[in-house]
């Protein structure tokens, strides 16, 4: 993955922050962290909570890793990263239990499974271990928000069609026939496939448009993934 921009300028603050939301969106572009993306998006509330929890772990672990990056020997870095990430996940786990038991039961073991979410270890290895604390926080925030937005995209569609409501509020009225499938596992696969199709179609269209306009567009590399 080539993160450097084509021109030789160093990435600006806005770039570092925004790339996670759009250009390198962890779910839609990099296709990472699929387990929580599919498992907890059966309602928008669950999706949002999961997104926030992941963002917290991302920011927390990135900050700590970036702070300690000079002191951690290369040989044991993966082990330390995992311990740091697991620490923050345990904290989030307790925080959610304290806020709402109902939410905690709905998300189940998937809060604890944030530990093995490849996005977090990936950012620690690729960014936080090499950049300043400020940059790392920005990067983690961007990635976290990008992840949250992606989860919300899925959660909204699944909850709307699957139960006829949004964030627990009825939208379509009482006569609506819910599509039970959408809150079931196959619904997760289909809705994510739908979003990916939409993205790839949109990307294709904008590339061809740019090409016909005679503008040389740099390919973003998503096709190789």
């Amino acid at each position: 993955m080539n993160t450097a921009s084509p021109s030789n300028q160093s990435p600006t603050v806005a770039d570092t922050f925004l790339k996670g939301i759009w250009k390198e969106n962890p779910v839609f572009v990099m296709v990472l962290g699929m387990c929580p993306t599919l498992a907890v998006t059966n309602s928008a509330t669950n999706a949002f909570t999961m997104g926030i929890a992941t963002t917290f772990v991302l920011v927390g672990s990135s900050t700590l890793i970036s702070l300690l990056r000079k002191f951690i020997p290369k040989q044991v870095r993966i082990a330390t990263y995992i311990v740091i990430i697991a620490t923050f996940v345990t904290m989030v786990d307790y925080a959610i239990q304290a806020v709402s038991l109902q939410l905690y039961l709905a998300l189940g073991a998937f809060i604890q499974l944030i530990v093995v979410n490849c996005i977090i270890l990936g950012r620690a290895e690729a960014f936080a271990s090499k950049n300043s604390v400020f940059q790392s926080i920005l990067d983690a925030l961007g990635m976290g928000i990008g992840f949250t937005v992606a989860l919300l995209c899925l959660g909204t569609v699944r909850e709307l069609l699957g139960t006829g409501s949004l964030m627990g509020m009825r939208v379509f009225g009482d006569a609506f026939e819910p599509w039970g499938l959408m809150v079931l596992p196959p619904g997760g696969f289909f809705v994510l496939a739908g979003w990916l199709l939409l993205f790839s179609w949109w990307k294709r269209r904008s590339t061809t448009e740019a090409a016909t306009a005679g503008v040389a567009m740099q390919r973003t590399g998503s096709h190789e993934i």
Binding site: M34, G108, L113
Partner: protein, 193 residues
């Protein structure tokens, strides 16, 4: 069949609530390593192997932590043990069976961040399985994971020759196949109940 009998635990993890297709665990290798039948079956074997070890370790850790009253360290212990177990398994296999190591060696490090392994440990704790039940659960989960992976690989090998529309190539198509498989596996619901 009683819901805590060994046969049911196995069936449940393998077919009824298949780890990949209905619990969404291990999706990354499911999408990533399912291009070829050969690699898929080896990955399945390696994961099942590590699952068995993890399940045994998790039972022991859980008992120890409960005895000490330090449940809040559970997650850290699990993940560290899994990482160590993977490393250990890799070394043991390398030493005693080079042939087996060649077959599944390169997939072993990948397993550390496979959420199916940690998921197995966490689910088994939540369901309060004892040691033997845990082993049955691990076997079922491993078999279910391998089954899903091998089926997926078979289909993707066949589709290599297909005239798939450009927009659907790659992950989107894999997800659609996964969705249809997940629909098909819904037929197993209620099995043995």
């Amino acid at each position: 069949m009683k819901s805590d009998s060994l046969a049911y635990i196995f069936l449940n993890a393998c077919l009824i609530n298949n780890f990949v297709l209905s619990s969404f665990l291990g999706i990354c290798p499911f999408l990533g390593v399912s291009g070829k039948l050969e690699t898929a079956s080896r990955m399945g074997l390696a994961v099942t192997f590590v699952m068995l070890i993890t399940s045994g370790c998790a039972s022991a850790i859980n008992a120890a932590l409960a005895y000490l009253g330090m449940e809040y360290l559970r997650l850290i212990c699990y993940i560290v043990v899994i990482a160590c177990a993977v490393q250990l398994v890799e070394m043991i296999i390398k030493k005693f069976s080079p042939a087996l190591f060649r077959a599944m060696g390169i997939y072993l490090p990948l397993i550390t961040t496979n959420c199916a392994i940690l998921g197995l440990a966490l689910f088994q704790t939540a369901k309060q399985y004892d040691f033997i039940q845990g082993i049955a659960y691990a076997l079922g989960a491993g078999a279910g994971f391998s089954l899903a992976l091998v089926i997926m690989a078979g289909l993707r090998e066949q589709l290599n020759l297909a005239d798939v529309p450009d927009v659907a190539k790659g992950t989107a198509l894999s997800l659609i196949i996964a969705g249809i498989l997940s629909l098909a596996f819904m037929g197993f619901a209620g099995l043995g109940g």
